[in-house]
């Protein structure tokens, strides 16, 4: 089997976190090489290295047997390695044609852009992508996300690409658009182009993939021809043998209903559609689903950051109709957001200031902040959650990911919540910190809190949750108890729109 691209003994450290541990990965020429693994397993890091936007801490890259230095995305592009990112990097204020040629405009003479030529070639590319009716003069910002994704793919098709890396390109595509994409991938394969394809969607990549490589916790754990694998094998490789040792199972007795949600509906590109759920005291409830399933939107709406168009939320048996952050917080909800940097931390502030931000009003004496009370309160929480810090006055950005997450959690706990909403609480933190966050959640349940957490990791959600709700396209598609949940059932419920019958 001729290999085109080989990454040998690649390691990558970010500060103290080892994102890749001595990974040796091979991509075969003219094949679709699928990469799978949970979030933070190291797939995207490896792809960033192969596309030149990150440099490995150690190890080498071979292209057709020759060692190469990929110092920048330009370098990689010049060698025929193209990448399509999970997040779009288009200019919404420019037309499709302008986007396709951005940075490498066709010239007329030496100075002027050959707009007509760009439009002509853009039309050809769009035809190849099955979008014959799309006018290349349309603003990209006016397109639905699926078509924007196709424009992104079109950008790469215009270059002389030998290796094409696609990082979850189908997460925003409709079924029809996915078919088009797979046709394009088939064409590419016939043209001897190598595709490296990252995906979470088992049913999809099994259709198109030739080889599958599984990553877990920064290591490459399996590499196999697709025809010799089945779904169960892949899931087992992704999850590892012994997920339970990492997580602490909540075993507290379940009490009253603390959170009762009825028919919650939120309009938007990612919508929440008629969701009902309950969380009881002492209960840990998990929400599993794929990106864009509406999970984050659900908890943000519960917290009052988005407006619901229908539905009722009751906390401790009392309806809370106002739906503002302040009202929901006062009623007893607290949210630890998915994106710490964007929604959780004030990066310009110290650890102490971040911990106390939501409860400043309690720290005053005669209208002025009481430094002693601030120090004591923050110190107590730091001790209670075992947050490792250089000092309370240190900038919060100096902490590791897991400790930053605990700072956000400390702030949430100080508001005296009864139900904690945790959105991907273990994303982007290392295994040890994951385990700590998990046992904290079990502790909180034991203290009588209700815990509702979102997770994209099968092992985590199965090991920690007393009950698991699965969301897809804004709806709850299935509900399982800890006893009857299986990996296959979770995966299939997260992929389908139909409400599956949970084995009760």
């Amino acid at each position: 089997m001729p290999e085109i691209l080989e990454a040998r003994n690649i390691s990558k450290n970010y500060g103290g976190v080892r994102a890749l541990k001595d990974v040796t990965f091979t991509a075969y020429r003219g094949k679709v090489n699928v990469l799978v693994g949970e979030n933070g397993a190291g797939k995207s890091t490896l792809m960033k290295i192969l596309s030149g936007s990150e440099q490995p801490t150690s190890g080498e890259i071979l292209l057709e047997g020759e060692p190469v230095q990929l110092g920048s995305p330009r370098d990689a592009q010049a060698r025929g390695i193209g990448i399509i990112h999970q997040e779009l990097s288009l200019f919404p204020n420019m037309t499709i044609a302008e986007n396709l040629f951005a940075g490498r405009e066709l010239r007329k003479g030496s100075r002027f852009v050959d707009a007509a030529g760009q439009r002509r070639q853009a039309r050809e590319v769009l035809q190849r992508l099955g979008q014959d009716r799309l006018d290349p003069g349309t603003l990209v910002g006016d397109l639905p996300i699926g078509q924007q994704q196709l424009v992104e793919i079109g950008r790469v098709l215009l270059t002389d690409v030998r290796v094409l890396i696609m990082d979850e390109p189908t997460s925003a595509l409709s079924n029809h658009e996915v078919d088009v994409l797979f046709d394009v991938m088939g064409d590419l394969r016939r043209d001897d182009v190598t595709v490296i394809y990252i995906s979470h969607k088992l049913d999809e990549f099994r259709r198109i993939g030739d080889w599958v490589t599984v990553f877990r916790d920064g290591s490459l754990v399996a590499h196999e021809s697709m025809s010799r694998t089945d779904t169960g094998w892949i899931v087992r490789q992704m999850v590892g043998r012994d997920p339970d040792s990492l997580y602490v199972r909540n075993s507290s007795p379940v009490g009253d209903v603390l959170l009762d949600v009825r028919g919650l509906t939120v309009p938007g590109t990612v919508k929440v559609d008629d969701v009902s759920l309950t969380v009881r005291a002492g209960e840990v409830v998990g929400i599993y689903g794929l990106m864009g399933a509406g999970r984050t939107e659900l908890v943000e709406t519960l917290m009052g950051m988005r407006k619901a168009s229908a539905g009722e939320v009751a906390i401790k048996g009392k309806p809370e109709p106002k739906g503002t952050v302040q009202a929901r917080m006062a009623a007893g909800l607290a949210l630890v957001p998915e994106d710490r940097q964007r929604d959780g931390l004030v990066q310009t502030m110290s650890v102490r200031e971040n911990i106390l931000l939501a409860t400043l009003a309690r720290m005053t004496r005669g209208g002025l902040l009481n430094g002693g009370a601030e120090q004591r309160t923050a110190k107590d929480k730091v001790g209670e959650l075992a947050i490792k810090i250089p000092g309370l006055g240190a900038l919060v950005t100096a902490l590791s990911g897991g400790n930053q997450q605990k700072v956000v959690l400390a702030r949430a706990l100080l508001t005296d919540p009864v139900v904690l909403l945790l959105d991907e609480p273990t994303r982007g933190i290392d295994v040890g910190a994951k385990s700590q966050i998990a046992s904290l959640m079990a502790d909180l349940a034991a203290q009588g809190f209700g815990v509702l957490f979102i997770s994209s990791e099968l092992a985590e959600v199965m090991a920690m949750a007393d009950r698991v709700l699965v969301m897809a396209r804004g709806r709850v598609t299935a509900e399982f108890t800890a006893e009857n949940v299986t990996e296959e059932a979770l995966v299939s419920a997260s992929a389908s729109e139909s409400v599956l019958e949970a084995a009760k």
């Binding site: 500060g15 920048s72 990097s89 929604d343 004030v346 310009t348 931000l357 002025l368 902490l399």
Partner: protein, 371 residues
Amino acid sequence: MYGCVLEGWEKMTDTHVAPPKKAAAAPQPDEPKNTALARAALLLLRGRTLVVLVLLIIIFSSISSEYLTQSNLILMTKHVAINAILAIGVTFVILTGGIDLSVGSIAGLASMVAGGLLFKGFDMPGGTVFFSVAVVILIGIVVGALVGAVNGVLITRFKVAPFIATLGMLYVARGAAQLHSDGGTYPDLAGTEARGNTGFGFIGVDSILGIPVAVWIMVVVAAAAIIVTTKTPFGKRIFAVGGNERAAVLSGIRVNRIKIAVYVISGACAALAGLLLTSELGAAYPDTATTYELNAIAAAVLGGTALAGGRGTIIGTVMGAFVIGFLSDGLVLVGVSTFWQSVVKGAVIVFAVITEQAQQRLQSNLTKRTA
């Protein structure tokens, strides 16, 4: 979903950039010594406004023996006071990540409102009434606060960008000041005993213990602002809104209220500055404090306030106002032409921002090394 547009742009333009990654990855030799040096440099950078101020005083006093005399220092400080009060107000706004371009015009409007009340009184159905000076000052400040509130509402409720909203207000408030007198000047603000409105000169002309009342007012405003920004929940929330608005929302902070409040504070400070200026001149004219907003913003930036919000101090802003004032007056004293004065002032402001960035880089490098 367009969050990475910038990233994409970088990718596309990096032909023009030599690969910088290798240099960054090179091991840093002799780290302990470097760290000590970096710490010393950081200390100097942090205190740079003070360093610059001391340098200015040394340079100008060596050129002109008049510079460091008591009377000149008092005069310069009085000039500083007005800009400092404007700049303190603007600092509140900038800390939230906003900007207030309307403070000069608000000062002008407050000046005309107060001047009109003192000079021609207030026409009511029963005849013309004259208010006492204290009431006139209060009304002037309230007018400034209300204009600030309009700014705040435009920015929060109608989602107008702060730059645009306050740029609009710059024109509107200035126009209102001109309309107030049909473009004319209120030439005499002394008042009469009979009307019970004498004494407006107190705030801008008189002194207490040899120090101008305006300077005392600056001290009081600065002290209050320092307490508010560092010792109250409201102050912390201002920094949080500027540092990360989404995190502030999630912490239950009523972001819109905070934003409206800072524009109200900025408007009130601007009005107070306008009144001091008017009192000093003894007359109110519609062009009072034109372009003063730029000096105020310059003072805040010079004092280390980040235009992106979330970072800055009141004391820094006051120091910034001192640097600008002492620099301008010094240049006048040693006979530099007004044209060159502008050039020097502009260069100093840009230089200040460059050093600010150097400080940030150094600080984050040090944090990384110690972490």
